[in-house]
Symmetry: C2
Subunit: 216 residues, 2 copies
């Protein structure tokens, strides 16, 4: 099993990291500093297979790396991780360029003719960036049943092998309806969808739902 | 049955107008000029119940008015229709602020902290604007089965009575899963969702699909 780096100590990083450890992967959580309080607590809670370090430590360790920071820190985390440390690796971008500064609903500070997924790929030209999981709540990310069991996960990216690798992990997370919408430009769609997600979440008063693509 | 005005002679206006005539409504299609070639052909094809005229004629005639022009013409059509002619009426905004000028995927020329639906409401402060139907192909709009039968139609608007009125028409179009996401700001979500729709359409190579909100 490949070693995995998870960048970010928030709910998304902790939840994805925990699930990966449960699945038997070795996971290193990365943050700005060694010994980050939340990362240390996460390691303690997840035991064998879990470790922590700087963004660079996690990037060097991981053969696959999940970007789970808040959107506004994602590019900085990659920079601190050392761009060269991501070379030839699959990078799963889970982050969203959400701006809550103007109240609800949030807006996207990158959108339309660009996306955070594309910016991640531009910053890591030697890596294979796959946008995935960003369209659902983190508990649903690692347990598709919690979102209704049969919802659709959109993914995109420029490299077919990297997408195949991510699909395998998604399958281990319970995803059985994965739709590959093409190259990394699809991140525009996947990130815009999050705004619709927030509206529906506010209406249903639960983050435990998802969108299923249905056909006749 | 209330009289209905339909602004726009394109596929969306023609399809919605045709369905409304079939349902027994009197429908006037409005365009920039009386005797517009496409409007006249539409009247001929749809017979009794169908008529045509200027945007103002359709606005005066309609007790409910559907805005079915291309996004970039919507506000101009309302202006030409005479803002006072929409007063106290339900206005269903089906238009999308799509910009195809930079190639695929299209972008939205209004988004994030504003939407075309909100602009329509601002231009018609005396009307009750409901954003609806803009998230699916026009054949699916009037026949939900064509999209998979059980997909979710998001609607929003500031007036509960107007939304109830629109829901009744949607039910006649076959929609049995309608989700009211709140006030007209929800148009931001509904319009952004169209970009996701375009990505999925390009992937599936058919416009006959939709997104269903699923819960556990």
């Amino acid at each position: 099993m490949k070693k995995i780096g998870v960048l970010g100590t928030g709910a998304v990083g902790a939840t994805i990291g925990k699930k990966l450890v449960e699945l038997g992967y070795e996971v290193k959580m990365g943050s700005r500093t060694n010994g980050n309080e939340k990362a240390v607590a996460w390691v303690k809670a997840n035991g064998k297979g879990a470790s922590e370090g700087t963004f660079a430590d996690a990037a060097v360790f991981g053969e696959i790396i999940f970007v789970c920071t808040r959107g506004e820190f994602a590019l900085k985390a990659l920079e601190q991780g050392g761009v060269e440390n991501f070379k030839n690796k699959t990078v799963v971008d889970v982050s969203n360029p959400l701006d809550f500064s103007k109240g609800m609903p949030p807006s996207l500070y990158i959108s339309n003719t660009n996306s955070l997924g594309e910016e991640v790929q531009k910053m890591l030209p030697g890596a294979y960036v796959v946008k995935a999981l960003n369209t659902v709540n983190c508990e649903v990310m690692v347990d598709a049943k919690k979102g209704g069991g049969d919802i659709t996960m959109l993914i995109c990216g420029n490299d077919a092998n990297a997408k195949a690798e991510v699909k395998e992990i998604l399958a281990q997370f319970g995803w059985n309806d994965i739709l590959d919408i093409g190259d990394i430009k699809g991140a525009r769609s996947q990130e815009m969808m999050v705004i619709t997600w927030v509206s529906v979440m506010s209406t249903l008063k639960t983050p435990h739902f998802g969108f299923k693509v249905v056909k006749p």
